[in-house]
């Protein structure tokens, strides 16, 4: 018990003093997962919208596949991206293995099925409510999907937050494709894993606390937006301009 309290005390001290190693790791994590969430989120929304508004042979199979990929283990994604980006791999010429870019690729792939599956559900529900009425106003399929995503922007934001949570909390993919190189590809989760194995619990705990705080802050942000949206109903209206 004393080890835990002692570690917590040191962790709090590191946070309070703004330990450079700690801040660097946190900043890289936010950069990698934020970029992955943005790229994977956009691709996932496009896939989800396409699956919601189009009908094509084999669609059920594709939907089943996307739903199955929700349970995709991050370490498997890491392995696939490693094979693609390694020197002998088809994308080896890019030369990005063991760089933050490779970690972004891996995390983007990880969040695409999540965003695609959930946004497809969201859009199907919105389409059943207002799809015909938007079509009667002259909206085509793509426009309908875009308008409905704006209409459901708070749900989309929550969905992207979920994706960000999945990205920033995963360890397997970034460990494999990033290599956990100090100062280059070492992010919060890989540092926690490494420092725990080394017995440096304060840093691991401090990073764990930061990880929780980041997600808590994002949750609070979404809750505030939801509250504001419920009161005013104007959140995101500017996006229509």
């Amino acid at each position: 018990m004393s080890v835990i309290t002692e570690s917590l005390g040191t962790a709090t001290q590191m946070l309070a003093q703004g330990d450079e190693r700690l801040l660097q790791t946190v900043w890289l994590s936010l950069q990698v997962s934020g970029t992955a969430c943005l790229l994977g989120g956009l691709l996932g929304l496009a896939v989800g919208a396409a699956l919601a508004i189009t009908r094509f042979p084999g669609q059920r199979l594709v939907v089943g596949l996307v739903n199955t990929l929700l349970a995709l283990p991050s370490v498997v994604v890491g392995l696939l991206v490693y094979l693609l980006l390694s020197r002998q791999g088809p994308l080896g010429d890019w030369g990005i293995l063991f760089t933050p870019a490779a970690m972004v690729v891996a995390q983007s792939i990880l969040v695409v099925p999540l965003v695609a599956a959930l946004s497809r559900r969201l859009l199907l529900s919105a389409l059943s409510e207002g799809g015909d009425q938007l079509r009667s106003l002259g909206a085509g399929g793509v426009t309908t999907a875009l308008v409905l995503l704006v209409h459901e922007r708070l749900a989309v934001l929550t969905l992207l937050l979920t994706a960000f949570g999945r990205a920033i909390a995963e360890v397997g993919a970034v460990m494999v494709v990033g290599g956990n190189i100090a100062g280059v590809t070492r992010v919060m989760t890989t540092t926690i894993a490494l420092e725990t194995s080394k017995g440096d619990l304060p840093l691991a705990l401090a990073l764990g606390l930061v990880l929780l705080a980041v997600v808590a802050l994002l949750n609070a942000g979404v809750a505030l937006l939801t509250l504001r949206g419920a009161r005013q109903g104007v959140v995101g209206a500017e996006a229509m301009a």
Partner: protein, 246 residues
Amino acid sequence: MRAPPAQPLVTLHAAGAQFGNTVALAGVSLSLQRGDRLALVGANGSGKTTLLRLLHGLLPAAHASGARLAHALHPEGRAPVAAMVFQRPFLLNLPVHWNVQLGLWLHGVPAAERRARTQQALARVGLASLASRPARALSGGQQQRLALARAWALKPDILFLDEPTASLDPSAKREVEALMAAIVGEGVTLVFSTHNLGQAKRLATRVAYLEAGRLVVERPVREFFENPGLPEQAQQFLKGELPWTT
């Protein structure tokens, strides 16, 4: 010498609609001229909404047949503009004025015109003071008026209304009906479904009675309500809806 009859805005020749094994409409023929005000009456499930959707071109080709829809005809040298207001209008989680502007944007109205037309439309339905309010926070009657404003802003030649006052209280019903009357006063062709026969009498020039997906009879409003030679099914319907007349 009499002028040749104007070309109709919409014609249906033995039109039908089918969903799987269910025949929702069959053998429906009718035409609409500019200024017509056609009320569709009939029991629930008789095909009123399907007919409105068919006329508006909302049914996929796989489900619809026999229709020459508004967009296919150019009776006045251009495709008629059609708009539809649904029983439960779908309003976006945006302020009132954005809901109107969105319709104009989707119709390709230039940005410079959108603001002015939105203001006009909202003033027309008495919602100008609520332009910045969230659309979904409006009352049922206000939401229906907003849906009418969104449709009216498009300057439609034909306006389709699917039971526009069905879920409204008497006061809101009167407001919406007054707006409908004002809109038709501008020469807009109106097709609306209703269970309110008084509304059909007040607003329509023609009444069509549907039963089980078939158009049983379609007559000028006066003949429909006063002519004893109505088909048996339509007479039964009127008796059921207006029991005090028997």
